[in-house]
């Protein structure tokens, strides 16, 4: 066995003496580093805590702003709401039933329009056409109550509310429905289908198709209407009976003259003479509808226009003959729509009663063409109307030309110019500019 030499024995303690301070130095460094790490960890915890608080704050702000977001998430405006948020909302809307009975549906539609009119003899004015909400209450596929109100701003600032129609419809067959109440006149097309401002391609109604015109506006009674196939072509019809119109007359100091037909559905039959009528239309091919309509009955003078204040009181007025004939057509070929309508209302003579006078004929027709410019939202329209009425100053011929911009199918901005040819010096002769914004909902 070989023992370590003397040199080695002396070397070991010397090495230990040398290593001891180095070890003490490493421990000190470790402690310092540890303290530093602990400090950093503490700071990190503090930062995390602050971050958490900030995140909570941001979420609170987000929740607040989300509730104010516009509810549009389909289409181009998806930035307003995420799809997930939109779907969640949609489910809620779906679940929200106005009635607990799922067999009853409630729906609101309607239209409104605002605009500006500037005529030759009238100051340019901002106008409100009407706000016309339509309410639908439907029980299964059997019965529907539908009603349209007409809220209008009058020239003096008053608000006028009218009942455009109110019917209860019983769908008792695939080919017929019984419609009872106050309904839009089935004579022609304009009043029953085209007058809403978002549908009418011009801002005004054709002369003779408004109130006191040649075409009846509405009727109170009942009708049976529907559609059925005739071989390969389709057809539709309406047959109605109602209270009929009343007549207005004018006192000129020496006698009476018929002034107008008040053909808005009356709540009573002043002469106990009903008016019967019908419309029948065929649709021989796609985009074409040709209709004829007629009504007959009696009408009686109930109102006198008396500027002089000397007219005798009405008494024992005779129920006069009242006959209406109409024809209408529409032909739609892609972007072009042609339509036209003719209505003639004839009131007979009265030989008894205070307001006894000759009868009269109100006659009007219009034809209209519109064209949707391909690939754009613009639409051009032109219409010609010729309205003839008894008395002086009411006949009117009119050209109307307009340009529409469709923000959507149901939101239309219109600008139009009417060239009127009537009795000089009257409104019937005024040319007019129209700007209108119509919204159907």
């Amino acid at each position: 066995m070989k023992y370590p030499g003397r040199f080695t024995i002396y070397l070991v303690p010397f090495a230990v003496l040398l290593a001891l301070p180095a070890s003490l130095l490493a421990d000190a460094k470790y402690d310092a580093l540890k303290k530093k790490v602990e400090l950093l960890e503490k700071q990190l915890r503090q930062v995390k805590q602050v971050l958490k608080q900030q995140e909570a704050k941001v979420k609170r702000v987000e929740r607040k702003t989300t509730s104010k977001k516009v509810i549009v998430y389909k289409g181009k405006a998806k930035d307003f709401m995420t799809r997930a948020e939109g779907r969640k909302l949609e489910k809620k809307v779906d679940a929200a039933s106005e009635w607990k009975d799922p067999n009853t549906l409630i729906h609101m539609a309607g239209y409104a329009d605002i605009g500006f009119v500037d005529g030759d003899r009238k100051n340019g004015s901002f106008v409100l056409g009407s706000f016309s909400p339509i309410f639908h209450f439907q029980y299964k596929d059997k019965v529907m109550l539908e009603s349209e109100l007409e809220v209008e701003l009058e020239a003096n600032g008053d608000t006028k509310v009218g009942l455009e129609y109110l019917t209860i419809d019983w769908f008792f067959s695939d080919y017929a429905a019984l419609v009872a109440g106050k309904f839009l006149s089935p004579i022609g097309q304009f009043r029953q289908n085209l007058h809403p401002s978002w549908i009418n391609k011009l801002p005004s109604a054709p002369p003779g198709f408004g109130h006191d015109g040649a075409a009846p506006v509405s009727e109170t009674g009942f009708q049976i209407r529907g559609g059925f196939p005739l071989g390969k072509i389709r057809s539709n019809y309406a047959v109605f009976v109602g209270n009929g119109p009343e007549l207005n007359t004018e006192w000129d100091g020496s006698g009476f003259e018929l002034d107008g037909i008040d053909a808005e559905g009356k709540g009573t039959d002043s002469d106990n003479e009903k008016v019967w009528g019908a419309r029948f239309a065929v649709l021989p091919w796609k985009g074409v509808e040709i209709g004829v309509s007629a009504a007959t009955g009696k009408a009686t003078v109930t109102k006198v226009e008396d500027d002089l204040g000397t007219a005798p009181a009405l008494s024992n007025e005779q129920a006069r003959d009242y006959d209406v004939y109409g024809a209408d057509f529409v032909w739609k070929i892609k972007s072009v729509a042609l339509r036209g309508e003719y209505v003639r209302s004839k009131v007979g003579r009265a030989v008894t009663g205070v307001s006894a006078s000759d009868g009269g004929v109100w006659e009007t027709w219009y034809t209209q063409a519109s064209y949707r410019f391909p690939g754009t939202r613009f639409e051009g329209v032109v219409r010609y109307t010729d309205f003839d009425a008894p008395g002086t100053g009411k006949d009117q011929k009119q050209w109307a030309i307009g340009l529409n911009y469709l923000f959507a199918s149901n939101i239309v901005a219109k600008i139009a110019y009417e060239m009127n040819d009537g009795q000089a010096g009257t409104v019937a002769d005024d040319n007019r500019w129209f700007i209108q914004m119509a919204y159907g909902f």
């Binding site: 539609a109 059925f228 892609k334 030989v351």
Partner: protein
């Protein structure tokens, strides 16, 4: 002065003819009631009714604009206005409820039921059953805003992936007042059928 002849004519015209028309309609309607009971709506026919009738009076509304229940009330309102038959009304409702994706359960009895296990349609069959109502047999479009497939600048200049996405999700052409509903309103169209109809569009209307 009204003569006795006028009165007779008026009586015949006003009362007798109207009553005869009413009686005839009542008989016709009653017979129709039995014949048409419980016939469900068909979305393909509904798309055609939609395309051919709505635009006659007003600009066609977007088929996805309302919820199913709102479309139902609207359709019945339009049944009165447009003189639609009950069957046409159910067909339109079927089209509209299928257009709303995913289809929702109808609260009315007339809701359609998709045919389970229906066999795959060819591209031509899909076009003739679904697309033709708005795009027309010649591909030039039957409604305002419907694009012209035969045009060099028409939609067929786009690539397949874009067109498949547009067909699947629905698409509104620039300037068009209404959007094409997802899958043309036939929500049970398969991916294969969509590819097939796209191939048909390219072969039938594409520029050669």
């Amino acid at each position: 002065m009204t003569t006795s002849k006028d009165r007779v004519n008026k009586f015949i015209f006003g009362r007798v003819l109207t009553l005869a028309l009413l009686a005839g309609l009542a008989v016709y309607a009653t017979s129709g009631m039995a014949a048409s009971a419980n016939k469900k709506g068909d979305s393909k026919r509904g798309a055609k009714v939609w395309a051919e009738n709505c635009g006659r009076c007003h600009n066609s509304r977007d088929a996805r604009e309302l919820r199913d229940d709102q479309w139902m009330s609207t359709a019945f309102h339009m049944r009165i206005r447009a003189g639609l038959t009950g069957q046409e009304t159910r067909d339109v409702i079927a089209f509209l409820t299928e257009t709303n994706d995913p289809p929702r359960t109808s609260v009315l009895a007339a809701s359609p039921t998709p045919q389970a296990g229906a066999r795959r349609l060819s591209g031509e069959a899909v076009y003739k059953q679904v697309c033709i109502a708005c795009h027309g047999a010649n591909g030039k479009g039957t409604l305002p805003g419907a694009p012209d497939f035969t045009s060099r600048k028409g939609p067929l200049k786009k690539n397949d992936a874009t067109l498949i996405k547009n067909i699947t999700q629905g698409y509104q052409s620039p300037g068009s007042p209404m959007a094409m509903p997802a899958k043309g309103g036939k929500s049970d169209l398969t991916a294969a059928e969509i590819k097939a109809v796209l191939a048909y569009l390219r072969s039938r209307f594409g520029q050669r």
